[in-house]
Amino acid sequence: MTTNIHITTKINNQPYEFLAPSYMSLLDALREIVGLTGTKEGCLDGNCGACTVNIDGRIVDSCLVLAAEIDGCDVQTVEGLATSEGLHPLQKAFLEEAALQCGICTPGFLVAAKGLLDNEPNPSEHRIRHWLAGNLCRCTGYDKIVKAVQKAASES
């Protein structure tokens, strides 16, 4: 018998309250219950980073977190990057530097890169490559992604 868990949380600065089965991942809850499909499924075993979200300031693979674990937390997804003022500097830099091809890994990269720049505004190229090594991209060879993060860092 499925047990539903009552979850009270904040997603992209908005309060949410919902019920989710005890076994449901945060990834599925975001996509299937909350309706935020910007967070992508790539592997379901924490290896690709397509489902990266930020929970209370830490970047995590949402496929490895149970929905129930975000009770009382502050969750940021790709949908929370842009504001009414416009795109986040990372989003702008990704567009200008052509840092995406198919785009499936892009939400995860953006959330992960923001996690870096929030704490280290001027990372070296090596630091960026090290930080983003948990996010796989198969289209770009990472060159333009790294350059976009460098550009966003220099402009923000």
């Binding site: 089965p21 076994y23 449901m24 599925d28 996509r31 935020l36 499909t37 910007g38 967070t39 992508k40 499924e41 790539g42 592997c43 379901l44 075993d45 290896n47 690709c48 397509a50 997804t77 790709v78 949908e79 990057l81 842009a82 795109l87 989003q91 990704f94 567009l95 200008e96 530097e97 052509a98 995406l100 091809q101 198919c102 785009g103 499936i104 890994c105 892009t106 939400p107 953006l110 960026i128 490559r129 090290h130 983003l132 090594a133 948990g134 996010n135 796989l136 991209c137 198969r138 289209c139 770009t140 060879g141 990472y142 060159d143 333009k144 992604i145 790294v146 350059k147």
Partner: protein, 763 residues
């Protein structure tokens, strides 16, 4: 007769770098991929799969699964429609629906690990996946063949009992060899007797996967009128429709495929996998059914590119002229016939002008997933062999390998290994650009203690394809144009196609608004593959834009009440020349002004462009790899990398560079780490991203790009396909760099730390 074009050089839009049209949707998470599709009443499907690579299926018991709460339907091979046993044209290759159907749902035998044996529909994903584990199957395990040598042994277990092999036109029964083809030109045996230097070696490689980050996903709805709607991430909505028509035994007009945004493909999302199963589950339940493939199954059951064996022998005269080449290519087809032996033969000698050549190719059935296209399918494997052999030949004879490549370079009119002669190609221009590059002329630098460095180069070639595309254009009142196309945008092609229409119309790229639509809403368009999209769909957009200009000229003549032949169009402005006879003055009107006036004057103006291009401009590239090897661990770091390529004409240079960088990265992964690691009894061991080990951002340097532009006369703007060439050179470029650093020739891919340490120990 193939149409050719004189090339222009004064572009306004082409060659610029606008923000891609779908960019905002993709950086905000709004873009709708196949996994994001939601329909009222949606239920989920899941598959039960064989744990064995080769086994007789003695019985399937679904009774336990059926009783699980929430399970709505179960199907097995008995529910698959009886498909025809004939080849059907899927644009970039033919397919036999009977083989495909059997690949998607096992009949009396499981042919590869992960082969589906039953499909379940249930109220949610968790229930469907849970029920899949409760399907009970009784297997009789058979000997599995992991590679071509094992499958071709005299007493090998036959994998497909009904297969009739084709050995140079002779029918062969009881065999795992599906096809043997031969291409023979000149007098190869005589030429080898005249050669001053000969190099001969055998190279081996394992299957590798395309590695797209988005797993296969599909949603299907089979309605009461036997019309099937499919939402999926596919490289070709129309070829998916053709494949589904064969598999479901429905006319194509009963199937509507909506191509969603796609999370990578590289060839691997041309075949259908989940779509027909979801459709049959929908038929049985009357509900829309969604299926998402787990990553393990993506590796174990979908399109890798062939592993196999390539033997190559090349001979040159004492002056360094290649006079003979011979090769034998054995490719693993997987569980059904159809590896890329044809393209391998087309590509192997392409960078060189060799008068006497012979190629034997063998398509071999093994107990692994059926191969699918992967970026220049068949070419990287043979480039690894040929380009390694060329380096070793030069070393043996004491020749500079760059000069040797230039002295033997193919050119317009050169005969390829399969007999086709080249049109205008840029092999020599690419070699020159490589030779003159900063990278080639720079010092490799000093390694730390315990490490050594080496530099290698390699050619790469892909022929590129044309095929069918359709584009519709509609003029909006505000002077913008909507562009309707059927080519899945996998890496910025909306922009490169729109820019070609914008160039003709003399309007900014941003004023063309592209949409990729379903199979009911645009004319037939072949796959996004074969490096054809910017070339062929761009050509269709060019044609549609020119048709639009013709129609607008008519309207301008009517609007000003003047003769059509007096109307001209240039850079977005229509001009009606002075009519001296009737004393009427010159008139001009811009595209934008005209668009607004037309709305009231004549109503909507639109146009169509469609093409069926039998050929495309061939693509050549050359890469330089600098590597550093840790002598204690055998780990290779790529410390500098440059990709040089003839791109014809770069429409949007950023995305051309992106193709070159991405292809290089995949090739580097293939060279150093990636492989299907098989258990002896069959079945892939490393079927996760962690164990398969694709390159991460930390594994790669910046990938430098040099765009060489030798326009092909086959396209109005000189466009050559660019997507596939860059995966071809890295394997041998790195192999040659390792040879330079360690004086060891690696002939078996991947050249991973374990193999390097072993080779160093032996040395």
């Amino acid at each position: 007769m193939v149409q050719t074009f004189k090339q222009q050089s004064n572009f306004k839009v082409i060659g610029t770098r606008p923000v891609r049209h779908d960019g905002f949707d993709k950086v905000t998470g709004r873009a709708i991929y196949a996994g994001d599709v939601k329909l009222p009443g949606l239920i989920w499907g899941a598959l039960a799969r064989s744990p064995h690579a080769h086994a007789k299926i003695k019985s399937i018991d679904t009774s336990v699964a059926e009783k699980i709460d929430g399970v709505l339907a179960i199907i097995t091979s008995k529910d698959m429609p009886e498909t025809e046993d004939k080849m059907i044209d899927l644009g970039e290759g033919d397919e036999n629906p009977r083989w495909t159907s059997n690949k998607l749902m096992a009949g009396d035998k499981a042919l590869y690990k992960g082969h589906p044996v039953a499909a379940i529909a249930a109220v949610d994903r968790y229930t469907a996946e849970q029920a899949a584990t409760k399907i009970k199957v009784e297997y009789e395990i058979l000997e599995a063949h992991n590679d071509v040598d094992s499958a071709l042994e005299k007493d090998a277990t036959i994998i497909l009992e009904t297969l009739v092999g084709d050995d140079l036109g002779e029918e062969v029964k009881n065999t795992n060899m599906a096809t043997h083809e031969k291409h023979d030109f000149g007098d190869v045996d005589k030429a080898f007797t005249e050669a001053a230097f000969i190099e001969e070696n055998t190279y081996t490689m394992q299957m590798v996967h395309q590695g797209y980050i988005e797993p296969h996903m599909a949603t299907a709805f089979w309605d009461e009128e036997d019309r099937v709607k499919i939402w999926t991430g596919t490289q070709g909505a129309f070829t998916a429709r053709t494949a589904l028509s064969g598999l479901l035994k429905l006319d194509v007009s009963r199937i509507k495929v909506t191509p969603c945004e796609i999370g990578g493909g590289f060839g691997g999302k041309i075949p259908v996998y989940l779509e027909p199963i979801a459709a049959l589950l929908s038929k049985k339940t009357g509900r829309p059914v969604k299926m998402v493939m787990e990553r393990t199954a993506v590796f174990e059951t979908t399109g890798p590119t062939p592993g196999g064996k390539v033997w190559v022998k090349i001979g040159a005269d004492k002056n360094g002229k290649l006079i003979a080449a011979e090769s034998k290519i054995w490719f693993e087809a997987g569980c059904n016939p159809g590896s890329m032996i044809g393209p391998a033969a087309q590509c192997i000698y392409a960078p060189y002008d060799i008068p006497n050549t012979r190629i034997d190719t063998y398509d071999v059935i093994v107990n692994k997933p059926k191969v699918a296209a992967y970026r220049a399918p068949g070419s990287p494997q043979v480039a690894f062999a040929m380009e390694s052999a060329v380096n070793d030949l030069c070393e043996k004879a004491g020749w500079d390998s760059m000069e040797f490549r230039m002295n033997n370079a193919s050119d317009q009119g050169t005969r390829r290994g399969d007999g086709v002669r080249f049109s205008v190609i840029g092999t020599k221009e690419v070699i020159n650009a490589t030779k003159n590059s900063e990278h080639w002329n720079s010092d490799i630098g000093q390694p730390e203690e315990g490490k050594v460095r080496g530099r290698g180069i390699s050619h790469g070639y892909w022929f590129n394809i044309g095929l069918k595309s359709s584009v519709n254009l509609n003029v909006n009142k505000d002077g913008t144009v909507t562009l309707i196309e059927g080519s899945t945008d996998i890496g910025g092609s909306r922009s490169s196609i729109s820019m070609q229409a914008a160039e003709v119309l003399g309007i900014p790229a941003e004023d063309v608004r592209p949409s990729i639509v379903d199979t009911d809403s645009v004319g037939y368009t072949d796959v996004t593959g074969g490096s054809r999209t910017t070339y062929a769909t761009g050509f269709a957009a060019w044609k549609a834009a020119n048709n639009l200009v013709s129609e607008l000229k008519n309207q301008v003549a009517l609007y000003f009440d003047r003769k059509l032949e007096d109307v001209s169009f240039d850079s977005g402005v229509f001009t009606v020349k002075t009519d001296t006879v009737n004393e009427k003055p010159e008139k001009t009107i811009s595209f934008k002004e005209l668009a607004e006036k037309l709305y009231d004057f004549c109503g909507p103006v639109n146009s169509v462009g469609s093409v069926d291009l039998e050929s495309a401009g061939d693509g050549f590239g050359m890469h330089i790899a600098d590597v550093e090897i840790d002598l204690s661990t055998g780990k290779t770091d790529v410390i500098r990398y440059t990709a040089v390529q003839d791109v014809g004409k770069a429409i949007h240079p950023s995305y051309v560079e992106g193709q070159m960088q991405g292809g290089s990265a995949q090739g580097i992964g293939w060279a150093l780490n990636e492989e299907y690691y098989m258990k002896e009894e069959g079945g892939m061991v490393n079927s996760s991203f962690l164990d398969y080990r694709m390159p991460t951002s930390l594994d790669l340097p910046n990938i430098e790009t040099i765009l060489v532009e030798v326009p092909t006369p086959l396209h109005p703007y000189g466009v050559r396909g660019v997507g596939e060439v860059p995966i071809c050179p890295p394997l041998a470029a790195i192999g040659n760099a390792l040879k330079d650093a360690l004086d060891i020739r690696f002939t078996d891919l991947p050249m991973n730390p374990a193999k390097i340490v072993k080779a160093l120990t032996k040395k």
